[in-house]
Amino acid sequence: MPAPYAKLALKDDLALFLTSPSYINKSRLCNHSLLCKTKPHFEYFFYYLGNFKSADYTLQVLSFQLLCKFTCYPVIIDSRARKYYDLLLKISLFIKISTMQKTIEEINAKIKAGKAVAVNAEEVIGIVRNKGIARAATEIDVVTTATFAPMCSSGIYFNIGHPKPRMKLDAGKTFINDVPAYTGFAATDVMLGATALPDSDPRNKEHPGDFNYGGGHVIEELVSGKDVRISASSYGTDCYPRKKLESWLNIKDLNEAVLYNFRNAYQNYNVAVNLSDKTIYTYLGILKPRLGNAVYCSAGQLSPLLNDPYYKTIGVGSHIFLGGGEGYISWHGTQHNPDVPRTANGVPKRGSGTLSIIGDLKQMKPRWLRGVSMQGYGVSLSVGIGIPIPVLSTEILEYTAVTDHDIIATVIDYSKAYPQFTSDVIGEVSYGQLKSGVIQLMNKEIPTASLSSYSGALEISNILKDWINGGLFLLCPPVKPIPGVKDGEATKPFNYRPVERNNNH
């Protein structure tokens, strides 16, 4: 346990000291001293040097609290303690502090025995507030997080089985309910994306287009067990002579049907507004002119990556709730971008982290995979995802106790800044403010709307909680962490390199 002390002592204003109770009494700092809830025989109190008026103060107390695994009270600066620094640092090496540490194996053993305690990421806030972090950490094993919102980078792949005579769908054209599918794989493998539209859809020819039906709706119908129509054409070969295929397909007849989403569960998201003089139709919904409304899209305090801001438990291989069934995290998502401004408690204020996820479509439910239409924009798929966070330490629990008021989102103008890809930010608001129904920006009261279903996320977090408490769902330790802060993973803009037009071609 000595390491944290040395670490804390590295910075002059972030030093940790030990001193005896008598010294504290003498210095009349008792009420303000950092009193760790220790065992009765513990004879030392900690002194913590920090500028408690600075914005970092909360973070410093929090970091200290996490490092020493105890609930702490506010501290006051006492420069006199500095002279004891070396001595006290040495003393600290001899003091044993009991820490709360659990392993996923231990938690799984409790789940199997039906003794695990899971709570959702909303309930955990009150529990930590009432019982303190140390006690809550010993009582809670898992915190369930969730989100249910349109997630465009979603899709399915499936194998239709070989028809008689055989046909290679690849390099031909394949449509499912008239929605174009991608078949650039082996003969009978098909991939269908959530945002694909039938060729016959008028798009935005008459703006704003309706976008009533597309890939997301096909996925929902397939999951519902409805027949969908495949129509495919190809060129025919000696081994795959068939050139046309027109048939009904049902999910139960497919060899494999897999939901594979390469970017889901954005850690945080823009709040969209419209500064222009006309209504605009965006992927974040209808935005009224002159700051007429603001639309956000996050489950906030329930959202998976906002409860594990540094990806300490969520990683490749994590076992999750996906679309009403089970799934796994397969990789970090595309545009994963952890190096963004963060609040003192580590929560990103911008989009930041993303996840790529995979799961067996056959056991999923249409309730949690819903085709959606965004007027004037296109189609998508609303995906329900639930991720359990194992309470391996007080630090991890502390992160899950984050509230809507602690989570900040960035307000962006979708009439100009977003489409022109400039970095202009209108302001920052908390999810607490967003959920109040009105935010204040540029001297205006702006009513808010949401695209992410909080009540849906709450329901998922409760389903996952029931699965865990009922011994039906085990946790998987990640086999590889997803890239964190300063790991070198950053989203780059498109590198535009004009192509020289060559008349010889």
Binding site: F148, A149, P150, P208, D210, N212, G285, I286, K288, G292, N293, A294, V295, R370, G371, V372, S373, M374, Q375, S380, S382, K435, G437, P447, T448, A449, S450, L451, S452, S453, Y454, S455, G456, L458
Partner: protein, 136 residues
């Protein structure tokens, strides 16, 4: 006693080109505020309006319309929410001009208040899962 109700008047094809609504004002001293209308010559039409006035006059006005062949329905039956489809996301909250959608406090489910709906239709296309349905 004054009454004010939102109603939908359905005009059969043969009535579409006859002037009827003005008589509500002239003969029965009623006030109306047209919220939405669709009138196509030689075809069926409808008017959504808020009709108000003294109770007796109001009832007489309604009787006059019924006798003239106009079918009358209360407005709230005309936009409804398909509960199976609604995901309670909240995209409808700021597109409704009358604030008919409200967030229930703890659950954050979205409550659709029929009484406030004026059947403007804004929510129909703004709803991502297309849960809001227009019925005639």
């Amino acid at each position: 006693m004054k009454v004010a109700r939102k109603i939908v008047l359905h005009f059969p094809a043969q009535l579409v080109e006859k002037a009827i609504a003005y008589r509500l004002v002239k003969d029965f001293d009623l006030q109306f505020n047209i919220l939405k209308a669709s009138i196509i010559p030689d075809s069926e039409g409808f008017i959504v309006l808020e009709l108000s006035g003294e109770k007796d006059a109001y009832n007489q006005g309604i009787r006059f319309l019924t006798r003239a062949g106009v079918k009358i329905e209360p407005l709230s039956q005309n936009v409804s929410r398909n509960e199976e489809k609604c995901t309670h996301c909240g995209a409808c909250l700021t597109v409704c001009p009358t604030g008919a959608f409200e967030v229930e406090d703890a659950s954050r489910r979205i409550f659709f208040n029929h009484d406030k709906c004026i059947v403007c239709g804004n929510c129909l296309k703004a709803c991502p899962p297309r849960a809001m349905e227009l019925h005639f």
